[in-house]
């Protein structure tokens, strides 16, 4: 009966659709035509705009099914025509298919895979990440896309820039609070400084790797150098941009560069930037609580060189060029050899050359 009545109505439906297509051709201007039309959102929101709409999962958790329409409009997806069913692929009509997730986390970890449809590169990057490794090892709290970016209300993640450490700080609470007190974090929060590193500057974004590995450690001076060897940027803050190049000449730096170039995976103990300056807690060297403040330097050295005396800190040339004021002994040694070496080379060279010439001339004369 139903089928027959439907077939009877067929011509009418065709007419209606045809009319709609014609009308849309007439009414919709080209600029409007490029904007996709919202079709399902309004339909879904007819129920999901109810703040009380929720369901209870088998775990006992209450899953709110409310979607704030206004906030949804500010998200990056909705205004670009990416609608509910783009992510909620299994829901096409009402009534919805039954939900068989035990808890909220399980639901999140299934739904986020929808991101890869449009963001395959970043999605696959996350699969190389530390977070993914942790999840595979059984920690289901390891973040997925939506944990950092949000789900319905997605905004550009770096606007404002201060948002980045806050996002990471949701889980990495201790690191975040230490970072906030550091010279970098402080400048970010107090001055909205655009140059200081945020979490992602050093750790990467989607493919965040374990920073405790030897590979990370051996490349760490280069990481700091990406800002601290930048003349232009350092000049803005009155900092030396030679710290990296001078470090590379130091005992530590030479050692690290050998390991970096040849044995990046082999454990070594020579100090990299963070060993002395700290990691998330880096402070200005003139800050009294900085690990490289002259007052604290001996304790910092003793982390690797236990039991050394207070003279020891004088061995560190402190990222400064050889100068009479700072490093007098090195200055005199350097001055001596900058004269002595070429002098020996020239004196020996010229003397031996003269001797050889005289020897040959004598020989030729005798044979004549």
């Amino acid at each position: 009966m139903l089928k027959s009545s439907f077939t009877k109505k067929m011509p009418g439906i065709f007419l209606l659709v045809g009319l709609f297509v014609l009308l849309s051709l007439v009414w919709v201007s080209p600029s409007q035509a490029s904007e996709p039309k919202q079709q399902t959102e309004e339909y879904c929101l007819s129920c999901h705009s109810n703040p009380d709409l929720s369901l209870t999962l088998p775990s006992g958790e209450t899953l709110s099914l409310y979607v704030n329409s206004d906030e949804l409009q500010t998200s990056v997806h909705s205004p670009n025509g990416i609608e509910c069913e783009a992510c909620h692929t299994n829901i096409t009509t009402y009534p919805h298919p039954a939900i068989n997730y035990q808890n909220k986390r399980e639901l999140t970890r299934v739904y986020y895979t929808a991101c890869q449809k449009c963001h395959p590169d970043n999605y696959s990057r996350t699969q190389d990440s530390m977070h993914d490794q942790v999840a595979e090892a059984g920690n289901l709290n390891a973040p997925v896309c939506t944990d950092c970016h949000g789900s319905h209300y997605i905004h550009p993640p770096s606007e404002p820039r201060t948002l980045i450490p806050e996002t990471c700080g949701n889980c990495h609470i201790q690191e975040f609070s230490i970072y906030q007190a550091s010279v970098h974090g402080n400048a970010l929060i107090q001055e909205s400084n655009p140059d200081v590193p945020v979490c992602t500057t050093c750790h990467g974004v989607h493919n965040i790797h374990d920073p405790r590995t030897q590979q990370f450690r051996v490349l760490e001076p280069d990481l700091c150098a990406s800002c601290h060897a930048n003349q232009e940027m350092m000049a803005k803050y009155g900092l030396s941009a030679d710290v990296y190049s001078l470090y590379s000449l130091s005992w530590h730096g030479v050692d690290v560069s050998v390991y970096q170039a040849r044995w990046p995976t082999i454990q070594h103990t020579s100090a990299v930037c963070t060993d002395c300056h700290g990691i998330h807690d880096i402070l200005k060297p003139d800050d009294p609580s900085s690990s490289v403040n002259p007052k604290n330097l001996l304790v910092t050295c003793q982390k690797c060189h236990p039991g050394v005396s207070s003279n020891w800190t004088g061995a560190w040339t402190g990222h400064y060029k050889v100068s009479l004021q700072r490093t007098p002994i090195l200055f005199y040694v350097d001055s001596f050899y900058s004269i002595f070496t070429p002098a020996i080379l020239w004196i020996c060279g010229i003397y031996v050359a003269l001797q050889f010439i005289r020897f040959m001339v004598d020989r030729v004369r005798r044979s004549l």
Partner: protein, 247 residues
């Protein structure tokens, strides 16, 4: 003072020609040179790859951290041998000074400065004759004293690098980067010196193996150490046949 070696007593056709040899270095001095040469060679072979660690040849030799560790151990052991040698050499010198028996022919004198000046004039064709030299000419004295101070610098700076924590209990920390630079640069200067100066004089100018054999032949004695030669001949004559002079 002179020995006589009949070189070919087996051929009766030729008249026997006597080759006079003059002792130049004692067994102790020759062994010292041999040990010194060996130490320097090993120290350079194990040290230079560490200094030029970015070059490909160095990376081929020091192919692993274990190899680097081995090189450092060999370097340290050889350094100890060299230090012992230097102590022996200094101890012997002090013993001889105490007994007033130090020959002193290696000590620099004002005559050496004059010799060097005259040699320079000879080399630039102003003088026709080389200056006459004694047992050790100024070139050989320069070799000895250059290496004397060079080895001194290498040993002192080397031990500072080896035991930096002990050294800084007494000395300011600044000596450590100073020692690193001195050790590394002095090694290069010494290598240049030995190759240019010493190798020229003992291999190219003439093949002088007296430090290994212990003796020099009469011809070399006459042309390179004429003062010593004259002195020895005179002394030998007076020692052997004092009556000849009277007649």
């Amino acid at each position: 003072m002179t020995n006589q070696h009949p070189p070919s007593s087996t051929s009766p056709d030729h008249p026997v020609r006597l080759v006079r040899t003059f002792p130049r270095f004692s067994v102790s001095q020759r062994s010292e040179h041999a040990v010194f040469l060996l130490c320097i060679a090993i120290l350079l072979l194990t040290g230079l790859p560490q200094k030029f660690n970015t070059s490909t040849w160095s990376q081929a030799i020091i192919s692993s951290p274990a190899r680097l560790n081995l090189f450092q151990q060999i370097h340290h052991i050889t350094a100890l041998v060299l230090s012992a040698l230097v102590l022996y050499h200094l101890g012997k010198a002090i013993y001889l000074i105490a007994r007033r028996k130090l020959p002193g022919d290696m000590l620099p004198t004002f005559q050496d400065v004059k010799d060097a000046w005259n040699m320079l004039l000879y080399l630039i064709f102003i003088k026709k004759q080389k200056p006459a030299f004694g047992k050790f000419n100024f070139e050989q004295k320069v070799t000895y004293w250059f290496l004397f101070f060079s080895v001194g610098i290498m040993i002192v700076s080397g031990f500072i690098m080896w035991f930096p924590d002990v050294v800084t209990r007494l000395l300011p920390g600044g000596v450590i980067p100073g020692a690193i630079m001195a050790h590394s640069t002095e090694a290069i200067v010494t290598t240049i010196f030995v190759i240019l100066w010493h190798f020229y004089h003992v291999h190219l100018e003439r093949l002088n193996l007296s430090i290994f054999s212990g003796w020099l032949n009469e011809e070399d004695m006459h042309s390179y150490h004429s003062l010593e030669y004259d002195q020895l001949i005179h002394k030998a004559n007076t020692d052997q046949d004092p009556g000849e002079i009277k007649s």
